[in-house]
Amino acid sequence: MSESLLEVEGVSVVYHTRQGPLPALRDVGFSVAPGEILGIVGESGCGKSTLSSALVRLLPPNGEITGGQIRLKGRDLVRLSEEQMRALRGRELAMIFQDPLTSLNPAFTVGTQLVDVQAAHRSKRSERRAIRRRAVEMLEQVGIPDPGERIDDYPHQFSGGMRQRIMIAMALMLEPALLIADEPTSALDVTLEAQILELLRQLRREHGTTILFISHDLGVIAQLCDRVVVMYAGHTVEEGDVESIYARPLHPYTQALLAAVPSRMHRGDRLATIPGRVPSLSALPPGCTFADRCPHAQDVCRRDELRYLSVEGRRVRCAMHDPMSGFDRDAQPSQLVESETAA
């Protein structure tokens, strides 16, 4: 996959805490092709947001990228100096956040803030007029009515959905190669969510924007994304295109996640859940981190560190699919999951 826009390989992130280092991400790997929408899904605490912060190198002060490579157009972001990285933010990588209500500075008009994105990258004062015109265009593109007038309004004069649109306009001002959307619709209601998703699709259609879309909502991912990366306890456990993953999940965690999505077929039944909970990062078990919740778990799962292997054009981290692991494929799944559907 040499034509990838973004290649993440073996990335590990540690949070230094008083209780000792917490491995928030371990050996995370995936790639994003230009013009693609890649979804990253996982339950809370699995490292989705850590991953998005790590990609733009804006981890909290106690976070540290301890290994791996993040190659954007072939440049390894992990090795860049802080100053070089800052120049890339906004230009090559931009981010939109979960909460549109606090993501805009209440003290300035949205126009000032849109123009400011460029000012932060030291454009000349004489270009201000052109930049402002561009800001109006961007607002129009993200669907703000009367952008020419509303550009001089303050954030509090816009609704939440509108503010998220403005955030997207801000992020796209410099036409970044990659837009990272960290749960951009979680704070919005479903109608607005659908509108924002449509907007993202339209931006990709019209401008070929590459989007990394982080969500805990499998339904949203299915609607929007081309490919999915499933994360669990700081690992990427499965990566592949949306259709094949949804049709035939390989990793037991993906299977369990999909089984837990409510559907018409199971009307009246209890909703499926995944027994147990995500292991604490401070006490990760050896071997597969999902083993304790996995119906297929065998001794080998708890023993060996797992490889991330390619299976059927996808990648998965599971002993079940590794012919070298010594996994007994004929063993019966245990009764850990009450409504296991074997997809």
Binding site: F97, Q98, N105
Partner: protein, 300 residues
């Protein structure tokens, strides 16, 4: 004036322009009184040479220690100097010291407080220790120490006020920066490539100016009192320049002969203090969102 901000910073007062803000303040009786006092004070200060009937240092020994009369509207002091003129010129000194001193204190406090709040960690700890140490000192003692080190003069009084007021602003700025920093727009700006300096100066500071402006309005009278106090003790403005403090101090020696110098100067000090305080408090009520609901209820 205290809240006359540069055009691009007008907004932090929650979308209210300075003009609207002042209108809003003028609508309440206390605010109107405050505005009137401040405006009158500024008129007096700017036009002192034209409206003062006499040179403040001119002595009319024959007319010494007189009460109010047509010739001397507020009377004369023990050297026969016109009290009205001296109080007018004293106002000049009072504001001339208080305004630059408070502005200086705000700038210094804002700078240090923002650095502390924004940088965090060791820098923050170190600055907080400095603020606390300076504040733990009784202001008067601090002022006396500094003046005895620097020598009494107008400039040194300003320096003393800056040094003793800046930690207060520093702490307030720091606390405000800490809370503004939590907003995700700071993170959003960073993710779009803004530098730390840019975020702090362009995005955080305008968001904390409103509370500081209010504090400023309320601190100007305190600064006037400090100046008067130092001048009263002979450590501030040196004669023959009239200061309210020195007029009071000289009047005090003669209070049994004539109460007028002490009375008028005390009154001037009181009205000024009251005016600024009422203005500041009204401004706070107008800006503070917690009062916004009440305000709407009260005025149909």
């Amino acid at each position: 004036m205290a809240i006359a901000l540069p055009a691009r910073h007008r907004v932090p007062l929650r979308g209210l322009s300075v003009a609207r803000l002042l209108r809003e303040v003028a609508r309440r009786p206390a605010g109107r009184f405050g505005l009137f006092v401040i405006a009158a004070l500024f008129v007096i200060v700017f036009f002192t040479p034209w409206i003062a009937p006499y040179d403040p240092a001119a002595q009319h020994i024959i007319d010494r220690l007189q009460g109010p009369s047509w010739r001397y509207p507020l009377g004369t002091d023990d050297l026969g100097r016109d009290l009205l003129s001296r109080i007018f010129y004293g106002a000049r000194v009072a504001l001339g010291v208080a305004v630059p001193a408070v502005v200086g204190a705000v700038l210094l406090g804002l700078l240090l407080g923002t650095v502390a709040g924004y940088a965090g960690g060791k820098i923050d700890n170190a600055l907080v220790v400095v603020f606390d140490t300076l504040q733990a000192f009784p202001a008067v003692i601090l002022a006396l120490v500094l003046i005895s080190l620097l020598g009494p003069s107008l400039r040194n009084v300003i320096i003393v006020i800056i040094v003793s007021f800046a930690p207060g602003y520093g702490r307030v700025s720091r606390a405000l920066v800490l809370s503004v920093k939590q907003n995700s727009f700071v993170e959003a700006e960073r993710s779009l490539g803004a530098s730390d300096f840019r975020i702090a100066a362009v995005h955080v500071v305008p968001n904390i100016l409103a509370p500081l402006c209010i504090l400023m309005a309320m601190d100007i009278p305190s600064a006037i009192v400090v100046e008067s106090g130092l001048s009263f003790l002979g450590l501030g403005v040196q004669p023959p320049t009239p200061s309210w403090g020195s007029i009071l101090s000289e009047g005090f020696d003669r209070v049994r002969d004539t109460p007028w110098p002490v009375l008028w100067t005390g009154l001037a000090l009181m009205i000024t203090t009251l005016g600024f305080t009422m203005f500041g408090e009204t401004l706070r009520d107008v800006v503070d969102p917690r009062f916004a609901g009440l305000r709407r209820l009260r005025r149909p």
